[in-house]
């Protein structure tokens, strides 16, 4: 009698961050997780990445903030969040009760603000890692200003790294000329992983009114439309850096995640797909596990970077 095949080992590590499985939910698409309580088995996720947290509260951008585009969407939320103090007081109690990793996305206007956020979150019970957002296309200061310059990006990464004992992921922007150069400098700053990619800058216009379809005119493009861009970014960067890469962009089903992993991603984030189906990330996880079993692989790690070029 043959033994039933063992289930593939889905555990992954991103530097010092160990995850039960490689499927996370992306920042800004999952709120503070309690919004999906009862709809999604939260404890089954590899990690929850929170919406971006800044030192002071941010009100965000004018309406409309959402516009549907071919196989995707534009958003210009503008990093609306209650600020660090209210986040810790009001959002962390629920998050720390989850039996999944909690990754707090942080953003600042200055290098010092990033460092202060990192230091303040170091002592907060329930925070498992930080994700540094230097790639938001929707705010003037900060955000993408750091992510589009290799020196500035590395400076933020190093400052955060020095300010906290927590594992540090850095989420990079695709809106740059030389992503590999930026990724290499950030990796060299000693971070635990790179997350690729944030949204692509985009715009949509209502031709009848002649007005942009977003209140902020320009926003960030996400959804299936950007998946090839994300897969290319993961492929190029993962071959150039030593640190693990987390693939994010256009993942709605398990095959999309498998594509990212084959390209070189150690873990993945499911973003906009959650808006269609709150449980999309768990569907990705189940399908990926089944796929690994069909390939006869013992772990998800064995699939990483297996694209044959």
């Amino acid at each position: 009698m043959s033994q039933p095949p063992a289930r593939p080992d889905m555990r992954v590590t991103l530097g010092r961050l160990a995850l039960e499985n490689p499927v996370m939910v992306a920042s800004g698409t999952f709120g503070w997780a309690h919004e999906y309580q009862g709809l999604v088995r939260l404890d089954a996720l590899g990690a929850v990445v929170t919406k971006g947290v800044s030192l002071a509260p941010r009100l965000g951008n004018p309406q409309p903030r959402i516009a549907e585009t071919p196989a995707g969407m534009l958003n210009s939320i503008g990093l609306q969040n209650p600020g660090l103090e209210a986040f810790v007081a009001e959002k962390m109690p629920f998050l720390r009760g989850l039996r999944t990793a909690v990754v707090v996305n942080i953003l600042g206007d200055t290098v010092e603000e990033y460092a202060r956020l990192a230091a303040a979150l170091d002592g907060v019970d329930g925070v498992d890692a930080l994700e540094v957002n230097i790639s938001c296309p929707n705010v003037r200061a900060g955000g993408i200003a750091f992510g589009s310059d290799a020196g500035a990006a590395a400076e933020v990464a190093a400052a955060v790294r020095a300010a906290t004992r927590l594992p540090v992921l850095v989420k990079l922007s695709p809106n740059v000329t030389d992503l590999v150069a930026i990724a290499s400098r950030v990796a060299a700053a000693g971070v635990d992983g790179l997350v690729l990619i944030n949204t692509l800058r985009g715009m949509a216009i209502d031709v009848w009114t002649g007005r942009p379809r977003l209140g902020n005119a320009i926003g960030g493009l996400s959804g299936p439309a950007i998946r090839p861009v994300a897969v290319r970014a993961v492929f190029e960067v993962s071959r150039a850096v030593e640190v693990p890469v987390v693939g994010c962009g256009g993942i709605t089903g398990w095959a999309d995640a498998a594509e990212h992993v084959r390209a070189g991603a150690t873990a993945v984030q499911v973003g906009s797909a959650t808006f269609r189906d709150p449980a999309a990330a768990l569907g990705v996880l189940e399908g990926l596990e089944r796929f690994l079993g069909e390939l006869g692989l013992g772990s998800c790690r064995e699939l990483v970077g297996t694209v044959q070029v």
């Binding site: 709120g31 919406k51 959402i66 995707g72 808006f275 269609r276 709150p278």
Partner: protein, 260 residues
């Protein structure tokens, strides 16, 4: 408010409800229908089998709960998503999330006016049916008679208004409200209640009329939404001095908060 659920809802019926491309979609959705309250909404996938394009779910007010197992949604066929939904045959299944948001909160007694502008009739029909037996009047305006949805079967007094005068009074529906409020005895004002849904200029005008008359009013707002669950902040806007999410804190708000 009960927690929303996600189900595969079966299309029971798609039928025209006005001459101007307004259709009613009836879905078999017991868990949602039983929990739904007037003013709440659902997010509906724009087609069966998870299309990647169009990508996002559509928010729809619950128009009617004709029986405890089904829901009716009312919408105009204006774009790719609604065209696809209107073309679904009976038996097709669509992913449905709901009921979502905060609905109307009418007082336990006293006179009620429902002020509907255009497709703003969608949630107010449900509210009118739930308030059957009470002194309820529907004030219903649209651009033209062809855009009016039949109110047959709704057991309340109906007054119509159209911009072009092809049905009811010529002019905005808010003139119906102004006339109704003017007739309301002073002593009745504290007990009276107005529920409004429609274009924002109409809601703003109605809020002003109600404020001056000392009548409590609630308005149901529309917004572009991605998630419908409060996660994405796509529908948040300043209301009452702070950002509020139309999908989670609303879609029904106190009129004085929205239009101070």
């Amino acid at each position: 408010m009960s927690a929303p659920v996600q189900i595969q809802a079966e299309v029971l019926l798609v039928e025209p409800r006005a001459r101007q491309r307004i259709v009613c979609l009836r879905l078999h959705a017991p868990a949602v229908a039983r929990a739904a309250r007037p003013g709440q909404f659902v997010m509906l996938a724009p087609g069966p089998a998870e299309p990647l394009d169009p990508f996002l779910n559509r928010p729809f007010s619950i128009h009617r709960v004709p029986d405890e197992d089904s829901l009716e949604l009312l919408f105009a066929v204006v774009g790719r998503g609604t065209a696809r939904l209107a073309a679904q045959p009976p038996g097709a299944t669509l992913r449905l999330l709901g009921p979502l948001g905060r609905g109307f909160d009418p007082p336990a007694e006293g006179p009620v006016w429902l002020l509907a502008g255009g497709l703003g009739i969608a949630p107010l029909r449900f509210l009118g049916e739930r308030l059957a037996g009470r002194p309820v009047r529907l004030l219903y305006g649209a651009g033209t008679a062809e855009a009016l949805v039949s109110t047959a079967g709704l057991a309340c007094r109906v007054e119509l208004a159209t911009d072009d005068g092809t049905a009811g009074r010529r002019g905005p529906a808010t003139e119906l409200l102004a006339a109704a409020l003017a007739e309301l005895p002073e002593a009745e004002r504290a007990r009276a209640y107005v529920a409004a849904c429609g274009p924002e200029p109409m809601l703003a005008a109605a809020a002003g009329l109600c404020r001056r008359a000392g009548v409590r009013a609630e308005v149901s707002l529309e917004a572009h939404m991605a998630c419908g669950t409060g996660a994405c902040m796509g529908c948040a806007r300043p209301i009452g001095g702070r950002p509020q999410r139309v999908c989670a804190e609303g879609p029904v708000f106190d009129a004085r908060e929205v239009y101070p």
